[in-house]
Symmetry: C2
Subunit: 189 residues, 2 copies
Amino acid sequence: MTKNKQEDILDAALLLFATRGFDGTTVPMIAERAKVGAGTIYRYFENKESLVNALFQKCVMELSETIKKDFPISNGDIREQFRHIFKRMFNFAKKDINGLLFVDSHSGARYLNDQSKKLFADFLDFLRILLENGKKQGMICQLPSEALISIVYGAFVRLYKVIQTGVLEETPELLKGVEECCWNAIRVH
Amino acid sequence: MTKNKQEDILDAALLLFATRGFDGTTVPMIAERAKVGAGTIYRYFENKESLVNALFQKCVMELSETIKKDFPISNGDIREQFRHIFKRMFNFAKKDINGLLFVDSHSGARYLNDQSKKLFADFLDFLRILLENGKKQGMICQLPSEALISIVYGAFVRLYKVIQTGVLEETPELLKGVEECCWNAIRVH
DNA sequence: ATAGTCGGAATGAATATTCATTCCGCTATA
DNA sequence: TATAGCGGAATGAATATTCATTCCGACTAT
């Protein structure tokens, strides 16, 4: 028996939302996986939408903190900052692949509330500002930051989707190679 | 009044599946958008799953044909082939953004049948073989082709997701820049 | 007229949500 | 220490709603 039912519910919901999506997941499914009664879920969350928003915010904050912790801001070396972000993204994906896939597949969903949207927008803003800096320094190629983020983030997430299907194995060499590829994608040549 | 109700149904379903997902789209929604009765849908498709599979196969075939038509196989110049693929992908996205997003978000869905899965796998195989060639020629970096495809395809699709939200505008310069970025991501340096 | 097509109300299964009841741990009392 | 009483947590059956699918009367083209 675990102490915290709310966590059990969030864990179960995360797995299911990440693999089946919000609409493909029923509340009884979540209850069964969390080993609680269906009604118990409504003691902790107002409804299914509240649950998905709470979970989304939790995951985005964890992702955001993972990246911002010990961020090498001081010298402003973009290459180093990029490496840091990638390393932390890899760590996050390794620790919580469902969190990564859930955030990706649900950012922009119609049932997200304003707070959820803002939290995710803030996360992207952090990345955007870094890229703007890099462009000023002449290190990063002159495309809209939104496009550069799409390229790197899109590549990263899809890689992990494929890894999760088992088609591709996550090895240090692979991750190192992918990091280089993504850097090469956005740097000035 | 259009002549072909089946097409009306497929068009409506495409828009809805692309924006709300399979589970978030109800059959009556499709009927309303297609301006047909709900029952009419069942004259053309056995059930909702048949419909999504038919649509998926149609979109994948169109995407595949778009790319394979006039494909520069003869000389085997990888750079040129890459440019061709990107150009055609841009065209496809421009003509049928929902088709692109639908295929992306539904490849790998649990309700796809074997035929749908195979069709999509064949499409990826085509790309894989090209990359293998490029690697042999020393033009493409030595990572698993699945990873390289993830990087380029992931970047491409996410870019269009962002474009569709209106955050980013699709201009010739942007597309040219993104094509270069993606090529830089996978080429040997 | 009639064969084929269509629309959309009707149906029943699935789903989110509620709520009466049970359960559990704590405290006050003897 | 033993026990009865209390309050909040948990439950899952019951309810209300939504949805995929069916069915049949109406319509259309021949």
